[in-house]
Amino acid sequence: MIPLLLIAQYSAPLAFAATGETIGQKSGVLNIGLEGIMLLAAYASVSVGLATGSPWMGMLAAIACAIALSLIQGFFTIILATDQVVAGTAVNLFALGLTGTLFALGAAKGESLSGAPRLPEMLPGVDPVLLLLPILVGCAAWGLTKTAFGLALRAAGEYPAAVESAGFSVTKLRLIAQGLNGLFAGLGGGYLALGLVQAFAENMTSGRGFVAIALVTFGRWKPWWALGASLLIGALEWAQVAMQGKSPLPIQFFTALPYLVALIVLVIAGKGTMAPGALGLAYRREK
């Protein structure tokens, strides 16, 4: 298999998640719970994939669980207008505890969450979900910039009050964005577990959701750029595997590299005026 394909595979979970988070942030919602949502999706994909024997049912379950958890978070951050970081942190803890407990319960019964059915390959190493990635990124980029809905959604993240006076509902727009965020996170988490290794391990996302959040800033809130940023991080992940035992530098340096590069790029990118104006701020209609 050529490295390019491997890099694409490593990047895909991040790219899905970062694209979804871009949509969410454009509408003004910072989804800190992304890590937990991906983790739950990863668990769901493998356990349902194993139970039904169908990778498609596994991916569907991943998407359904991710959307459900996203919307639960959205209920708190968008409808109740609670602090977005607090609610997201709670969702992360919830998913970590839930999947960990389910995993432990399953292990006690002798079930193993590995050897799930594989997604069919269309070309060597290319499955339909991987193929879907550039298509969906394109859809997201087009939808955000070229459609009336995308305009309204972006406005909800910039000047929510203006959107309301134009007759849209900020709450509805943000909920839809949060749901789409869940859809993408579900694809990312499902692909990470079912797509790449056909197995689930405790806390297997290991920070990918958080890195994806950093990639949104890195990608200047543009889906294609976020994909490019994900490919860079994917290349670093690949390098880490490829360099194992072949480099005088300690392996931890390569493991740390994706986080380090993400941080350095954010520092260099500096104070951007690209961030949605109302990002992270709850919106409540004046009474």
Partner: protein, 345 residues
């Protein structure tokens, strides 16, 4: 007085809620809830061992929880408690290695100081990056968590590895360098006193000093801070330095009080779990004492649980997640009067 009664009632309600959530969690996983809650309770408070375990677990939770309180009250979402905790341990281990057995009696305090400095400097760096370069601390501190963990892993296989170079651990601290223990039978160490003193110190700082008042104004209402010519940037960097210092102290206290050495898995997510500890303590340093004790007990008790049931420590984050959501949902629902308008004016 009225406020104290209200806080007390709120505390009781939260306690009842916490037990209820625990109960429901067991039921949801098809386990006997009465047995589960009873096992946790006895494991946490059943005997001197249990109480000691509870307090030992509560110590890092309280210290790092206080760190979260200080940062979040200033409007800085420090999620890097985990990394700062680990760096606190690393700082302590470095000074221990550097001194190489000289002056063991002075080593204990020096470990704590180094832990504070390591945690404080990295948190202050994150704050500075937000203020000067616009890199949100929410994102940067998360990334720094992973960097700190990788750094520790590397150090344990390189410069800080034990003398025989066999295991991936540091040398064990000499007994004279360890924090005082309260008894030979239990692990309970002087760290709990340090944590309680820190809680009182943070309370005094936040509520009785001018710097604390400024910090709270900056966090509550940035435009009011600007109007009153409070240097918000400096206040936020200071708050992050204190926050990181407390999280670093948590790591150093665990190192010098409990483990005596660093190894993989040195932190069991203490810095991360401290966030809900602080939130359930309503970001109030005194209330955080109780919340840290509760979660310390939950941790200690769930260790006991692991011996009899297939579930163990994983119920802790689960319960925390549910409880935090229920709590913020309830609080927001109660206070829907105050309108918050989207963008900054």
């Amino acid at each position: 007085m009225k406020q104290a009664v209200r806080l007390g009632l709120q505390g009781l309600a939260i306690m009842a809620g916490l037990v209820a959530v625990l109960f429901l969690t067991f039921a949801a996983f098809g386990q006997d809830p009465v047995f589960g809650v009873r096992t946790i309770f006895l494991g946490a408070f059943g005997d001197a061992q249990g109480i000691s375990r509870t307090l030992v677990r509560a110590t890092p939770l309280l210290l790092a929880g206080l760190g979260v309180v200080v940062a979040w009250r200033a409007g800085m979402y420090n999620i890097g408690g985990e990394g700062q905790y680990v760096l606190g341990g690393i700082g302590g281990a470095m000074i221990a290695k550097l001194l190489g057995g000289a002056a063991p009696a002075a080593l204990g305090p020096m470990i704590l100081i180094c832990g504070v400095l390591f945690g404080a400097s990295v948190a202050a760096l994150a704050a500075w990056l937000q203020v000067k370069r616009g890199v949100q601390v929410v994102v940067s501190t998360i990334l720094m968590n992973f960097l700190a963990l990788e750094l520790m892993e590397y150090l344990l296989r390189g410069p800080l590895q034990e003398r025989k170079k066999q295991l991936f651990v540091t040398d064990t601290l000499p007994n004279e360098a360890m924090l005082m223990r309260f008894g030979a039978q239990t692990d309970l160490h002087f760290g709990i006193v340090i944590a309680l003193i820190s809680a009182i110190g943070v309370a005094i700082y936040l509520y009785l000093t001018k710097a604390g008042l400024q910090l709270r104004i900056v966090g509550d209402n940035p435009s009011a801070a600007r109007a009153n010519k409070i240097p918000a940037d400096a206040v936020q960097i200071r708050a992050m330095a204190i926050s990181g210092g407390l999280c670093g102290l948590a790591g150093a206290v665990d190192y010098a009080g409990l483990t005596g050495r660093l190894a993989d898995g040195f932190s069991q997510n203490w810095g991360f779990i401290a966030i809900p500890v602080a939130l359930m303590g309503a970001l109030n340093p005194i209330a955080t004492i109780f919340s840290a004790t509760y979660f310390g007990a939950l941790f200690a008790g769930s260790e006991e649980l692991k011996r009899t049931l297939p579930i163990g420590n994983t119920v802790v984050p689960l319960v925390q997640g549910v409880v935090v959501l229920a709590y913020i949902g309830f609080v927001t629902w109660m206070s829907r009067r105050k309108p918050v308008v989207g963008a900054e004016e």
